[in-house]
């Protein structure tokens, strides 16, 4: 435990400064200081993907990422993938495919998949599955999620 400090970070394009113990997990800062409740707590150990956000475009587990480590970096949460008028393509295809049951894992899936499509625009089905293996779903919506990601890919062109 260390003394509270001011930490500057950019989330969804907006600069923020929060005062907290710099070891605080990014997840809690997003949810409790910035009011961005899209990323979820699932395990606290980086094993389920429910808390995934993008840091400089790469998916990271925000539950075990200390906030000091993202100082000055760009963080994107599910809320920043698109906006009200212009949702991310994946958010549209998830609706088209009804790609969830409870939806608790959904924001982590979307963030992970968005990074995947940036990295590999022509990824195949096996590649989608591999990329999502770190994101757990207990309801059994996997195949719908895979279809939604593949459809977002196809529809890019």
């Amino acid at each position: 435990m260390t003394a509270d400090q001011a930490v500057s970070l950019v989330v969804n394009g907006t600069a923020h400064e929060v005062v907290c113990d710099p070891d605080t997990p990014l997840l809690y800062v997003l949810r409790n200081d910035l009011g961005l409740l899209g990323a979820k707590f699932g395990c606290g150990l980086g094993l389920c993907g429910a808390c995934n956000v993008l840091v400089d475009g790469h998916p990271v587990h925000s539950c075990d990422t200390p906030v000091w480590s993202v100082a000055g970096k760009s963080v994107t949460t599910v809320e920043g993938l698109g906006n009200e008028g212009r949702p991310h393509r994946l958010q549209e295809t998830f609706i088209d495919e009804q790609a969830l049951q409870c939806g608790y894992c959904t924001s982590g899936m979307l963030v992970t998949a968005a990074a995947l499509l940036e990295r590999e625009p022509d990824v195949d089905e096996a590649g989608v599955r591999r990329a999502l293996d770190g994101n757990l779903c207990r309801c059994g919506a996997h195949n719908r999620i895979v279809r939604a990601v593949l459809c977002a890919r196809t529809c890019r062109s």
Binding site: G38, L47, Q98, L136, R138, A141
Partner: protein, 701 residues
């Protein structure tokens, strides 16, 4: 059959309010568990009232406003709540039309309703919304109003997109974990290190030194902290842990000898079915014993609860399956009058049975009482969720089929050993977890089983669907409960169907018959035959004899959930090389009337994949004192790369009652995988999960 929901709440205005601003408020006592029930219920209301579904507002359930519909469980929501809302809305529509007819001076039958607009043949009109303040619904449902005929359905039977999906993909929709009422504090509980551990001393100062700690609560062996910031709650718990001394003792059975433990424990025997025939001496018999380990709910979110105590009244927020039962339990344990406690349902992550939602709510209550005037939110850790939530019981099933000289079954015996599958809060014998840890501890009795007429627990689906003579079916419910067990999706049906279908497959092999043909020969129920044939056809079930031991195989499983719910047949294709890999699942299902086809497919698919995960991977691990499989590494569940394609065929039967879809595919999927594994390997693997170790053990039984 009378509708239990209407029996409890017959008054029309308890269910719906038609408003002047053009919306319909619907109060169901059933809650969203991730299964999409709110969308299905909204469709039923929209259908009967003839309004657009976008006008329906599903009011979150709360104990002070919602009908008491008991638990959201047993795949009964569309039957019970849907049936009640259908009847209520049909009658409300009739009352509105009678008023409109009087005002417009035309016969009620001549009126046409479109999206709430009521139009007379001459074009004069009024609407549900105009008449909202005029037509009183403060009356009980009267007999004699017919609901719409299925032929006239326009909304029911369509795959309407779910109402909650857009908010969830935008990250906007709030789960209970996302509630942030003003001044909310973060509470965390330090659970004992093992079952039955007693706290002998604690240094509360260590926790108090963490910044922002508002309260440290100790009551007997219950310990918790309340803090201003969430991360500090975790730190305070860690600090508290270092300063505790517990008295512990071994209390759990040997996890490697679970079947022996179940068979040796004191039990209560119940005869579920006894055809009581004494056939002549058997010419042969098939005898097989099956088991499954304890299973975890393993929802992606740990359980959560919130509570606010103002010195007199208590407000509680929970993702419980039964808010009225939780309400009763809290009132009893806290000695509060029912009118001073309100429990409000808020959606959590996927719920597959009696998980720790109620326990987390009670944790929040205990902590909130220490900080009057401020709401406390408790979120369990992943470790506590996997380690302390109720578990699906371990089970043993033993089946013996005697055959006559012609190879026909002449008697069939099915015995189940299991802890009870029902330990929901409500009765005094099933206290909330923290209530067993406080100084004035309540004592938990071993879990019970619902009676067979309510679907049974250990014995769910233990009575075969087949025309087999001389059936005797018994359950042996444990009178001791080292690990707390309760309802997990499908209850005993998971292993009972696995076992029955495995033995039926063996009988088919003995008879030299094709497994599908053999089953058809034992099935009089037309609807069961139809799903079996549909699944076999869709899967390309071959007429050529199965190539046993070829490394790849097709297997089939069939059941009617609870013997009176949905019919489901599954064909699995399994490959077994280094491990058991399911390559595809083909499923045919008959749920009677389908309210939302995509919703049913989603539930059937989800149930099948959860059953696949349980059946091939899952096992709760423990030592002599505590559950040790407390992270996703120690309790792995199915991942994307392991998920096969799932093809679901819906047999729509619009004139038959809706039967519920949430649990129907569990047993048949497990069975189909086991039977396919036999074709792939030539081995009957009877002990779950179907891991390489259990497959190898089956080589040398």
């Amino acid at each position: 059959m009378t509708n239990p929901s209407l029996g409890t709440t017959p008054r029309l205005d308890r269910w719906i309010t038609i408003t002047a601003d053009g919306t319909v408020l619907v109060r169901s006592g059933k809650v969203e568990l991730g299964q999409g029930v709110l969308t299905a219920l909204a469709q039923i209301v929209a259908e009967e009232l003839d309004v657009d579904p976008s006008r329906i507002r599903m009011v979150p359930a709360a104990t002070d406003i919602s009908p008491d519909e008991s638990y959201t469980a047993g795949s009964l929501s569309v039957q019970h709540s849907g049936g009640a809302l259908r009847a209520v809305c049909a009658q409300a529509r009739q009352l509105f039309l009678a008023e409109a007819a009087a005002r417009l001076d035309v016969p009620s039958e001549s009126l046409d309703v479109t999206d709430g607009d009521i139009c007379a043949p001459d074009g004069r009109r009024t609407s549900l919304w105009e008449l909202a303040g005029v037509v009183a619904l403060d009356r009980d449902l009267a007999p004699g109003t017919d609901a719409k005929r299925p032929d006239d359905y326009r909304v029911v039977g369509r795959s309407l997109p779910r109402v909650d999906v857009p908010g969830k993909v935008a990250g906007r929709r709030r789960f209970i974990h996302d509630l942030r009422p003003d001044g909310m504090l973060f509470g965390r509980v330090l659970r004992p290190p093992s079952r039955g551990a007693v706290l002998t001393s604690v240094d509360e100062q260590a926790a108090s030194r963490v910044p922002g700690v508002v309260a440290v609560v100790r009551d007997g062996s219950f310990l918790g902290v309340v803090t201003e910031r969430e991360e500090n709650a975790l730190r305070a718990v860690a600090a508290l842990r270092t300063g505790t001394v517990w008295k512990e003792a071994d209390s759990l059975p040997d996890e490697h000898e679970l079947p022996a433990f179940l068979l040796a424990a004191p039990t209560e025997e119940t005869v579920l079915h006894d055809a009581g025939t004494t056939a002549g001496p058997a010419a042969g018999s098939v005898h097989a014993r099956f088991s499954r380990p304890f299973l975890a709910h393993a929802s992606i979110a740990p359980s959560c609860g919130l509570a606010l105590w103002n010195g007199e009244r208590l407000a509680v927020w929970s993702h419980s399956q039964g808010i009225h039962k939780l309400h009763a339990s809290i009132c009893r344990s806290q000695g509060l009058a029912p009118e001073n406690v309100v429990v409000q349902h808020v959606e959590g992550a996927g719920c597959y049975g009696h998980n720790a939602a109620d326990d987390a709510a009670y944790d929040a209550v205990l902590l909130a009482r220490a900080v009057p005037g401020r709401t406390v939110q408790v979120v369990w850790t992943r470790e506590d969720e996997l380690g302390w939530a109720p578990l699906g019981p371990a089970m043993v099933v033993d089946i013996e089929a005697d055959l006559d000289a012609g190879g026909r079954v002449q008697s069939w015996r099915h015995d189940v050993w299991s802890n009870g599958h029902a330990h929901r809060p409500g009765p005094p014998s099933a206290p909330l977890l923290a209530a067993t840890h406080v100084e004035a501890a309540e004592t938990a009795q071993p879990a019970g089983d619902p009676p067979l007429q309510n679907g049974g627990g250990s014995g769910r689906n233990a009575v075969p669907l087949y025309d087999l003579p001389g059936q005797v079916v018994r359950t042996h419910r444990l009178q001791t409960m080292p690990l707390r067990t309760s309802a997990l999706r499908a209850l005993g049906a998971h292993l009972n169907v696995f076992a029955i279908e495995s033995v039926v497959d063996e009988l088919a092999a003995l008879a030299g018959a094709d497994p599908v043909e053999y089953r058809l020969g034992l099935l009089g129920d037309e609807r069961a035959r139809a799903v079996l044939q549909a699944a076999a056809e869709r899967a390309g079930w071959g007429s050529s004899a199965a190539d046993v031991g070829s490394g790849v195989g097709l297997g089939v499983g069939l059941a009617r959930y609870k013997n009176r719910g949905a019919y489901c047949a599954v064909v699995a294709e399994v490959e077994a090389e280094t491990h058991v890999r399911v390559r595809r699942l083909t499923i045919a299902v008959d749920v009677g009337l389908v309210v939302n086809p995509d919703g049913v497919v989603n539930q059937i698919e989800g149930g099948a994949l959860q059953a696949l995960s349980w059946t091939t991977k899952e096992r709760v691990r423990f030592d002599g004192r505590a559950v040790t499989s407390r992270t996703w590494e120690e309790y792995p569940i199915l991942t994307f790369s392991e998920v096969p394609p799932v093809d679901v065929v819906l047999l729509d039967r619009p004139t038959d009652p809706a039967l519920g879809a949430g649990e129907a595919s569990i047993g048949p999927t497990a069975a189909a995988i086991g039977n396919a594994l036999y074709v792939a390997t030539g081995l009957r693997v009877r002990h779950l999960p179907l891991t390489p170790e259990n497959v190898i053990a089956a080589m040398d039984p």
